[in-house]
Amino acid sequence: METYQIYSLTSAVLFVIGLAGVFASGHFIKKIIATNIMGGGVFLCLVSFSGRDALAFADPVPHALVITGIVVAVSSAAFALSLARRIKQLTGKESFSNDK
């Protein structure tokens, strides 16, 4: 079993954990964190595939994509956090709920 195989299998597990978190948790920040865990799974998948047919160096295109992806994910998480804080300030709610 090679390194990239271990991590590519882990990536699927991480993605599903994040997906479960998005559905099962109600708190805004937990949902944001769960989407970031999903993102981590996707990035791990891309990077581990780039190691499969490495010659002198691993495939740099997925690496560059992942660096771009990390920055975009953090930007959107920052925006989501600011939205969550704004909702909390305006309504006092911390989670989505139907019973209010």
């Binding site: 981590g40 490495a54 992942v66």
Partner: protein, 328 residues
């Protein structure tokens, strides 16, 4: 032996992710999330993606961590406070106190399990070959840089990187819009700690130098504009915390110029190459190295400024808007 390290690291990442989503208190969730990010960074070092590891540790664990800790001030710490008794184990099990009804819970579990099996099978059966390693290696001598990842980011796929700088600016604009103000205020009394100020003064030049080193080293080794930008952004954030609010004291036009510099210079250069007969973002091979360094430096300055601005806006988000007056 090395496989053992990878297996332990993989188990650690999965464990931290699960714990992160099950933790009963918000600070625990956040710190487990940083730990998860750092575990991922280690995984990327193991996979040979050192550029990605630096970016992950600096941006995803570091910068997002700072923003999340700042957001902690707004939210109550116990996630199941609304339900009353925080020691009730039944309620903490489902994550945040809103316990799923059993039928949707089972359906969700089955669906996720099925999805996991399909994903695992797809990954396992992924055919070898393909990939752009050979092509990227062949073109490396004319790309102007020695690090293949930097070559992809700034040369082969310059378009993506350009738009990425735009995404950061968009995020900043969106945060300004949700905050309702584009006024950068001086921080309150928290910044009067003399020890903190001295430590920050000591570390600022080191951070600057280290960022500049990462920027320059990105040509031939892991590093580059984004990693340098985060260090410079950290410098701005520290200065802000120490009572030197860089973003509150510089005039508005200069602030906007710095923020737009990276995106603008990148685009301008792209169009100049088009005027010279090439494609958009197609560097002339003879000068590619120098041009990439210029674009990277300007982009790093812009990104660092945007990160500092995002943090500054976050930091003043929970202060009353009418409490302090504008510095503009």
């Amino acid at each position: 032996m090395s496989v053992l390290i990878d297996i332990i690291l993989a188990i650690l990442a999965v464990y931290l992710a699960i714990q992160c989503l099950l933790a009963p208190r918000l600070p625990q969730t956040m710190f487990l999330f940083f730990a998860f990010g750092l575990a991922l960074a280690l995984a990327w070092v193991r996979l040979g993606a050192v550029d990605v590891a630096i970016a992950e540790a600096a941006i995803a664990a570091g910068f997002l961590g700072v923003l999340m800790i700042d957001a902690l001030r707004d939210f109550s710490h116990a996630l199941n406070k609304r339900q009353g008794n925080p020691t009730d184990n039944q309620k903490t099990l489902s994550g945040n106190g809103t316990k799923l009804p059993w039928l949707p819970g089972v359906a969700l579990g089955l669906g996720l399990g099925l999805f996991l099996l399909i994903a695992l099978e797809a990954i396992w059966k992924m055919p070898d070959g393909g990939g752009l390693t050979v092509l990227a290696g062949e073109m490396l001598p004319v790309s102007g840089v020695g690090n293949p990842v930097t070559a992809v980011l700034l040369n082969y796929r310059g378009y993506d990187t350009w738009l990425e700088i735009g995404v950061i600016l968009m995020a900043l604009l969106a945060i300004v819009a949700t905050g309702g103000t584009e006024v950068y205020r001086r921080p309150g009394m928290a910044a009067r700690d003399p020890l903190l100020r001295q430590v920050i003064l000591f570390f600022t030049p080191i951070l600057f130098l280290f960022g500049a080193f990462l920027l320059y080293a990105g040509k031939a080794a892991p590093g580059g504009a984004f990693q340098a930008a985060v260090l410079w952004g950290a410098m701005g954030i520290l200065l802000h915390l120490g009572g030197w609010p860089v973003f509150a004291v510089i005039p508005r036009w200069l602030r906007q110029l710095i923020l737009a510099l990276g995106l603008g210079a990148f685009l301008l250069m792209g169009f100049l190459f088009m005027a010279g007969g090439g494609a958009l973002f197609e560097y002339p091979p003879a000068h590619a190295g120098v041009l990439i360094l210029i674009v990277e430096t300007l982009a790093a300055i812009s990104i660092a400024a945007a990160l500092t601005a995002i943090y500054t806006l976050f930091n003043q988000m929970n202060e009353e808007p009418d409490q302090a007056d504008s510095t503009n």
